[in-house]
Each structure stands twice: as C-alpha cells, then as structure tokens.
Symmetry: C2
Subunit: 205 residues, 2 copies
C-alpha cells in the first residue's frame, strides 16, 4: 500500500502484527484512533503498556493476576479440595462465567504439542504436582480442549497424578445443549451413546 | 466477562472501543500482546501515540502528512492542473495504488450528509474553491462514493465550481472488471447501457 505518511505506515504495520488483523483492517483501526482526541489515544496505548509492565502471574495457579496470589487462590470461599486444570486464562474466565465451579484452578500455559515443540517441561506441570503433596486436594478436573493436544496432555498428567490417590476427572463430552442430532459429527454422537448417563443426572439444575 | 485482573479488564475495554472489535476479539488481541516481550509492546503503543501526536494534515490538500505540505502536493512531477476530490485518506491511497492518476488531490474530510449533521461547512470546501482562484487548475475530478451522500456532495460542489470555467468530471460508473452481467444490480446495468462508450475507449491500456 502507498502511505502518504511514515508515521501512519508504522502504526499500521504494528497493528497488522496482531492475529487476524490484515493491512486493511489495521488501516481502519489506526484511522479511527487518529480521529480520537489525544487523551483517548494516550489512554489506549497507556492501558496496554501498563498491562504488559505490571501484570503478574499467580504464584499458585499461574493465572493472570494483579497481585502475587490471585483473587481465586486467596479467597476463603473457594473449595481448596478441587483443582481444575486448564490451558490458559481464557478458560478460567469461561468457567468462571458459568458460575458452576467453586474450586481452584491450575493454568498450564499451553498443551503438550510435539508438532509445535511444546513438551511437559514448557508447562506448569511440576507446580501442579507440588500442589497435591500436602494431601488437601481431593480431586483434579481436566478441563482441556477436546483435541489431540488436549488428550495427550490429559494422558501425560493422568500418569503423573496417579500416585496421589485422588479422584481424576475430565469435563463431560457430548452433544451441546441446543444441538440438533443430525448436525452432530459421528465421533461425538457415537461416544455420547457409549457414555450415556442416567436420565436423572442429565437434568440441568 | 469475569476478568481476573483489573489491568487486563482495562486493556480489553480500550480495545473493545475500536470499530468492529468485540470483547472476545479484544481479549484475544490483548492476550497476544501480553505474550510479546516488553519492548515489542512499547513499540506498538509508541507507534500509535507518536502518530496521534505528530501527524499533520497537508495545508494544501488536507491529506495526512508527516510534513506541512504533503509529498504529492510538493512533488514537481505531479500535474498541478488536475485536482481529484476525495472523501478521505483511504481514497487517496486507493487511487495512488492504481498508478493511473498523476494530478493532485483534495481531501474533503467527509461527505455532505444531513442525516449525520454534516454540512458543507464541516468539509474542506472553501480551501478547494481557493485553490482554483489562480487559474492554474484546468480540471476537477470527483472521485466520491456512488452513494446518496456522494451524489449530494458532487451536486453541491458542482454548483460552487461552475463559475471557474474548468472541466468538471466524475470517475466512471458501470460494471466492474471481471463482473458477470447476471449479478449486476439493475440500476448499474441500466445506467451502463445509457452511458455506453465507444468500443475503442473501453480498452484497457
């Protein structure tokens, strides 16, 4: 593209680095910011710099936090006997939004993926094992994506956690609520028949 | 959404203000930036602040510029006898990308739109009239969107520029190159028959 300004070109180049943002979208966003007053633009760029410079990761669960120990880990209202293992912060938010879970989390920071060169040592595995040592934790729930990487990670962690004599579970897989049978893929549908549950248990409460 | 960090929430809120960016996209972009090193994030926010604080608008054509008079207006290679009137910077870029125009531009900064409360006084109309006074300009080309607002603006400007005894033209409307007849809307197709051109003129050079 033919920019009339080097400053504009730089800003567009920076925005284009963001995932899913092409050059045309970047230009639209930059021109939008250019129409805002200086204070608003300062606020925008300030929020990002501040976030990057001041953000911490909870020493216990490794979730994003403003403090050394995150709100969830330090809350006396949460059940410290259950740990839900997730891939990243977004998953914590998603589960928190359901209001169905009152335990603690453990953010792995990724999934085992040999193709991408991510092995167990790149993830927060040792600290998870460490958290189980005092015997307070009774159950670990794996809430990982239903992908090859997710399954590999569960397989690996399951072996690691076996010695602790705790309940190990994974979130239920099956047909989504509101899903129509004819559009469900065969693997999900097939497994949902094999892993059928008693009718009483299937009711939402 | 349930953010585990106030800093994160602020950054997501700022990104959500951008056009076409919802909260989920904003979160994805912010988490992406969080994964970059501090220097890269500084560079990102720096480029935007610098753009907003240092950008200028060309005193002649009102296009975005790094200097008081933009590159195009100050270039001796451009034909100062032709002015192409456009809505905004993006249109200048689009036309420059075609490499088919060698004249100067005039950026109106919008289109007349009574619905949005934009009248002629909100646009760079007076300075366009001013540019015609020394008699150097022989032709004004309107390259505005083929919308009600574009047509209204052309109608208004045409009356304003009549007294100057210059050629006033608009960019050609018709069927796009590669367009299939059956998918073209009736108005465009109908007008393209009425405003047909001699075959020799229609060939791309």
């Amino acid at each position: 593209m033919n920019f009339s300004s080097k400053l504009l070109e730089n800003a567009v180049a920076e925005f284009s680095k963001l995932p899913g943002v092409g050059q045309k979208t970047a230009l639209r966003l930059v021109l939008h910011l250019l129409n805002q007053n200086k204070q608003e633009v300062e606020q925008f760029s300030g929020a990002i710099t501040k976030l990057r410079n001041e953000i911490q990761f909870c020493a216990t669960c490794h979730n994003i936090s403003d403090t050394a120990i995150c709100e969830i880990c330090s809350s006396p209202k949460r059940d410290a006997g259950v740990i839900c293992v997730v891939e990243d912060t977004r998953d914590v938010m998603a589960i928190e939004n359901t209001s169905q879970f009152n335990g603690l989390y453990h953010v792995l920071g990724g999934l085992i993926s040999p193709m991408d060169g991510v092995g167990p040592t790149d993830l927060q595995v040792d600290s998870l094992v460490e958290r189980l040592k005092d015997g307070e934790v009774k159950e670990v729930i794996f809430a990982l994506s239903a992908t090859m990487e997710g399954d590999t990670t569960i397989f690996y962690l399951n072996k690691k956690l076996k010695p602790f004599n705790i309940t190990i579970s994974t979130i239920a897989r099956g047909i989504a609520f509101g899903g129509e049978l004819e559009y469900v893929d065969e693997i999900t549908l097939g497994r949902s028949i094999v892993t059928r549950v008693p009718y009483e248990n299937s009711l939402t409460k």
